[in-house]
């Protein structure tokens, strides 16, 4: 007989204290169960889930999965117990089904838990919980400065069942003494334990002897279940609050498991713990250590990085030597990771970060038998359909839905006044989640965004997509927010983040907006392409201008817009050294920056004018852009006649290559032609300029000038003709006719001849 079995006190059942999500706990528990062969296993977990346990132990069920309960009424509260393969609770359920023994959950029903939770949400949080302080202090005292590592070294690497049992019990006892009465959920804990004691007593009363009962519970509760305090009485039981709840099982993922921290709720490195579990089963204490390092090496090699076997061997040696430095035989995750960084990452964590994420967290997703899930997000979805009066669109035929987001002034209640806006938010959220129920049709609306057109069509796939979205969040809103945040984290370019900000506006999610804005700020400092910055400025600027239709504050965007604008201003002059192809995009960029400055007072106009002036006068930039900058200045009234004349004379003087001069004129004529046409002096200079050119130069200039005038309208051309007529003292009518006349064949030929023109050094 194992020593573990002898720990039980007479007249009491076996009470096995565990750490949730603990491979060693699961392993030692199974060994205890094999030896005791109990008739019933009692597990800490909401007792109204006992029926669902058959699904949990089903052969088609593949962990990680979670049991979940949620309130039917809004606001939705949820409780969630995730199980991995190596959860002691899961192994207890599995063992009972394998051996046809009973297995019950004995904690308070989820209806009571959620009633407690709904009540607690109303009171303010009161700083750090005592138990968290204890964990933190434990971490500080341990040599590794981390209680996680301490746990792993002491508990997960313990090969003796008895050691694990006593260790867990001692830890639970000490934690209890240190925090007694200090945590805010302490009263709740006492009720839970009284309830569990009641369940244990009921089991004994039903005729099962204590030595055939095994209780599996968190280490903390061991003392609470052992002590002689009375169990919960019938009357007390009646007094417990209760709310209506829905219960379900749901597939879970390792990724989700790793993002929830803290005791019991999550596990930072599920895939690594899986290796520990395999090590337990193989009875090889160093299995996880070796596998971890080999897997990192394998991942690196698969992704094209060279890792020699010698490096892996050295990493194993270093990990063991690090463990030894702390007085342990087996390296913990921390040692392994540091060894991998030192030997395989050459001191640089970033080099192996992805391999580490893959090896520690992994991508496993659980699955359940079909039809078992009825998750809170499904519930939320149907509730919203009813609330927004959209239920009738839930059919297999495609239906159109037109929305008008403006406030309806004819209706009385606030709710129906904004019904379409709420609908729009909801539909956009579904769209972001990739749920095929909705599809968004673009509406052409000039400078306004209040009309939307949707096509709705229900399919069974949509239902599956909604269940999958549960992994992202408990409700449609939370899932959409999670999705966008994740996209924002992975989004590389500022344009893609700006897109997410736009999406958040469409979805009506201010919190996501500020989240994405913070990320935008971070990557904006690295943005180097002015065109991209300009595009981003443009889309943010639109959001700020038209955001009000969705009644969302765009305050958070202002600083980042200002920062992007500043960056664009600093980079702009340098980026204007480019060829004619690139100049097109650059001009578009300058145009959108100019628009932004016009619309937003907080963007410094002074700075913008200074930048434009610099571009307009510099000779070493693309002349077309210089001309365009001058055009903007002219339009804004920041360019006096004398200055313009000076520039015209300088740019269009003999000696300046014809293409550069004409290019400049082309840029200048891209904006406010009317102002140009009315300036007589301009035409005078142009005329004089052309006169100075010899034949070859004239041919060159002709090509560019032709392009510059190509998209002038007939009316504009006649106005120019008028000017020229005046200049040459000719009849305006006559000139206009000549200018607007289609080309004669002869002229056409000559122009085609120009196409073959040898541009030599251009």
């Amino acid at each position: 007989m194992d020593k573990m079995v002898q720990i039980r006190k007479a007249d009491q059942p076996y009470i096995f204290g565990i750490r949730h999500l603990s491979p060693a706990g699961a392993w030692h528990l199974r060994r205890l169960l094999d030896q005791v062969m109990p008739e019933i296993v009692l597990v800490e977990g909401p007792s109204d889930f006992t029926e669902e346990l058959t699904f949990l132990g089903d052969l088609c069920t593949k962990p990680p999965v979670a049991i979940m309960a949620y309130t039917e009424e809004t606001p939705i509260h949820t409780i969630l117990y995730p199980f991995a393969e190596y959860s002691p609770e899961y192994q207890a359920v599995l063992w009972s089904q394998e051996h046809q023994r009973q297995c019950h959950f004995i904690d308070l029903p989820s209806s009571v838990f959620l009633a407690f939770q709904s009540a607690a949400k109303n009171s303010d949080d009161v700083g750090e919980e005592e138990s968290i302080t204890v964990y933190r202090r434990l971490g500080e005292l341990s040599k590794d400065k981390s209680h996680e590592t301490f746990w792993e070294r002491v508990m997960e690497h313990s090969s003796e069942g008895e050691g694990y049992w006593r260790g867990a019990e001692a830890f639970g006892k000490n934690l209890r003494e240190l925090t007694e009465g200090k945590d805010h959920d302490y009263p709740e804990t006492l009720i839970r334990e009284a309830y569990m004691r009641r369940k244990i007593q009921e089991t004994i009363a039903s005729g099962i002897t204590p030595d055939k009962i095994v209780v599996v519970t968190g280490a903390y509760h061991v003392q609470g279940l052992k002590n002689d305090l009375p169990a919960l009485s019938d009357q007390e039981l009646k007094q417990l609050p209760s709310v209506d709840v829905q219960k379900t099982l749901m597939p879970y993922s390792y990724y989700r498991l790793s993002s929830r921290s803290g005791y019991g709720a999550g596990n930072k490195a599920p895939a690594y713990y899986d290796l520990l579990w395999e090590g337990c089963q193989r009875q090889e204490a160093d299995f996880a250590a070796r596998s971890y390092l080999s897997r990192i090496a394998a991942w690196q090699r698969k992704n094209g990085n060279i890792v020699s076997s010698a490096e892996v061997i050295e990493a194993v040696r270093l990990a063991f030597s690090l463990a030894e430095l702390h007085g342990y035989q087996i390296p913990a995750l921390r040692d392994l990771r540091d060894a991998a960084v030192t030997c395989m990452g050459h001191g640089n964590f970033a080099k192996i970060a992805q391999a580490v994420a893959d090896t520690e967290i992994g991508t496993a997703i659980g699955s359940l038998p079909q039809g078992v899930s009825r998750t809170s997000i499904q519930n939320d979805f149907y509730r919203l359909l009813d609330e927004l009066n959209l239920r009738r669109y839930c059919s297999v035929t495609a239906d159109d839905l037109h929305l008008d987001l403006r406030e309806k002034l004819t209706v009385k209640s606030q709710k129906s006044a904004f019904l379409d806006r709420e609908r729009s938010f909801f539909l956009h959220r579904l769209r972001v989640l990739g749920i095929s129920f909705v599809s968004w049709q673009q509406v052409q609306q000039e400078k306004a965004t209040w009309a939307e057109h949707w096509v709705l069509r229900w399919t069974p796939e949509a239902e599956i997509q909604i269940v999958e979205a549960q992994l992202k969040g408990d409700t449609v809103l939370l899932a959409a927010s999670f999705q966008m945040k994740e996209e924002a984290q992975n989004g590389g370019s500022i344009a893609s983040i700006a897109k997410i900000i736009e999406e958040s506006f469409l979805c009506g999610m201010p919190e996501t907006i500020s989240y994405a804005t913070a990320i935008l700020q971070k990557i904006a400092v690295e943005a180097a392409a002015v065109e991209e910055i300009a595009k981003t400025v443009q889309s943010l600027s639109l959001v700020i201008q038209y955001g009000s239709i969705r009644q969302l504050s765009s305050e958070a965007l202002l600083p980042v817009l200002e920062q992007l604008f500043l960056r664009a201003c600093l980079l702009l002059p340098g980026s204007c050294v480019c060829d004619d192809n690139a100049s097109k995009e650059m001009i578009e960029g300058i145009g959108s920056l100019n628009e932004a400055v016009l619309h937003h007072e907080f963007l410094s106009e002074e700075r913008w004018i200074a930048v434009l002036t610099e571009i307009a006068v510099r000779d070493d930039l693309n002349t077309k852009i210089s001309g365009y900058a001058a055009a903007i200045l002219l339009e804004r009234g920041k360019y006096s006649n004398t200055e313009l004349e000076l520039q015209v004379e300088r740019r269009l003087s003999k000696g300046v290559p014809a293409d550069l001069g004409a290019g400049w004129f082309e840029g200048l004529s891209m904006k406010n032609r009317y102002a140009l046409i009315t300036r007589m002096s301009l035409w005078e200079s142009l005329d004089q300029y052309l006169d100075t050119l010899d034949d070859e130069e004239f041919k060159r200039a002709l090509l560019f000038l032709r392009r510059a005038f190509a998209d002038f309208s007939a009316r504009e051309k006649s106005d120019i003709a008028e000017n020229l007529g005046e200049l040459w003292q000719l009849n305006p009518q006559q000139v206009s006719e000549t200018v607007n006349m289609p080309l004669t064949e002869e002229a056409q030929e000559m122009l085609e001849g120009l196409d073959d023109f040898d541009f030599g050094d251009i």
Partner: protein, 363 residues
């Protein structure tokens, strides 16, 4: 003591003789072959603590885990490579590691562009070589050779400054753990306990890339800049005080606020984010090491002492910062202007004077 005081700087093992003796005397743990104390005691020696009544001063502050990794590496007889930016105490750490492990930190090869392969292996006393032919007496052993014979640790400073072919002379020594002397028909195997600690610079100019083959023979530990503002300010303050005593700068020591400003700006530009982590910043190409912050302040003191009223003003500081941050690159100038507008401008009254002065310089 009288004789010692004439020496400008003593090696670590003599400077901290008492501490090393106390640690050896109190040793309870097993000692690896060739070592003077156990790995745990080495850790105590470097990171500080107490042995009996002797207080062990911390030699390397912060990043204790990195020291653990370094020591564990040496236990596995692997060679150790300390990499870091200038001024991150690489050589300091390597000196103290060897002082504690061997009681001897003087087996050093200083890597320069002129270091030859002979300096890493062995060379000859040519007069004797010509007179007597090759003989053990005519051989000049390198520090690495000595370390192999005695089973101790040799140091190679600034290894990346050596030419690549010279660096690669270490490859065979580290993998075969023996050195051959064909002239004498000798094969000298390394004794247990032999290892090498090398240091290398990452961002300085004039360094040679290390070959992958050589890198693979080292366990690499990257030493970061000081962990937080407080510790960096401490380091700066101590060093500036020492410097001003030595140099007779004739100015008041910089106020806490001035040191804080300089360290804050340096740290933020170095890390590429504001200290509260809320805003990202474009980092500059320069190193902006703690050592530079120290010289900037000393320089400002010299300015203030020679041309001002002896008190460092924002004007002095701005000139120093401009020179330190904007080296020769246009990009640095843009990054610095962005930093001024996005960060400094919005920092409030305490910073507004400095902002104005810096802005003036960037008009």
């Amino acid at each position: 003591m009288a004789a010692e005081t004439k020496v400008q700087r003593l090696p670590a093992e003599q400077m901290f003789q008492k501490e090393i003796d106390a640690l050896i005397a109190a040793e309870k743990e097993p000692i690896p072959t060739g070592w003077k104390m156990s790995p745990k005691s080495v850790l105590t020696y470097i990171t500080g603590g107490k042995v009996g009544k002797t207080v062990i001063t911390p030699k390397y502050i912060g990043h204790k885990r990195l020291v653990e990794i370094a020591i564990a590496t040496l236990v596995t007889d692997r060679a150790l490579l300390l990499i870091g930016e200038p001024g991150t105490a690489k050589s300091w750490l390597s000196e103290h590691l060897t002082a504690a492990i061997n009681g001897d930190s003087t087996k050093v090869i200083q890597g320069t562009a002129g270091t030859t392969e002979e300096q890493i292996r062995y060379s000859w006393n040519y007069a004797m070589l010509i007179a007597q032919g090759p003989s053990p007496e005519a051989m000049l052993k390198s520090p690495v050779y000595h370390a192999m014979e005695s089973g101790s640790i040799a140091r190679v400073e600034e290894i990346s400054r050596c030419a690549s072919e010279v660096q690669d002379a270490l490859i065979s020594i580290l993998s075969e753990k023996r050195i051959s002397v064909p002239e004498l028909g000798l094969e000298v195997p390394a004794q247990k306990g032999f290892s090498v600690i090398a240091t290398a610079n990452t961002r300085d100019k004039g360094v040679n890339e290390m070959s992958a083959a050589l890198k693979r023979r080292f366990n690499i530990v990257v030493l970061p800049a000081p962990a937080d503002l407080e510790s960096e300010m401490d380091i700066v303050k101590t060093r500036v005080t020492q410097l001003s005593e030595n140099l007779d700068l004739n100015a008041k020591l910089p106020e806490e606020e001035v040191i804080e400003k300089v360290c804050t700006i340096f740290r933020e530009l170095r890390l590429g984010a504001t200290l509260d982590g809320k805003q990202k910043i474009k980092p500059t190409t320069g190193v902006l090491s703690t050592a530079e912050a120290i010289s900037l302040l000393a320089n400002s003191m010299a300015l203030a002492g020679s041309f001002g009223n002896g008190k460092i003003t924002d004007y002095d500081l701005a000139a120093g910062l401009q020179g330190a941050v904007v080296k020769d690159d246009d990009k640095d100038s843009i990054a610095w202007k962005e930093y001024l507008e996005n960060i400094l401008k919005k920092r409030g009254l305490k910073w507004s004077g400095l902002y104005q002065e810096c802005k003036e310089l960037n008009k």
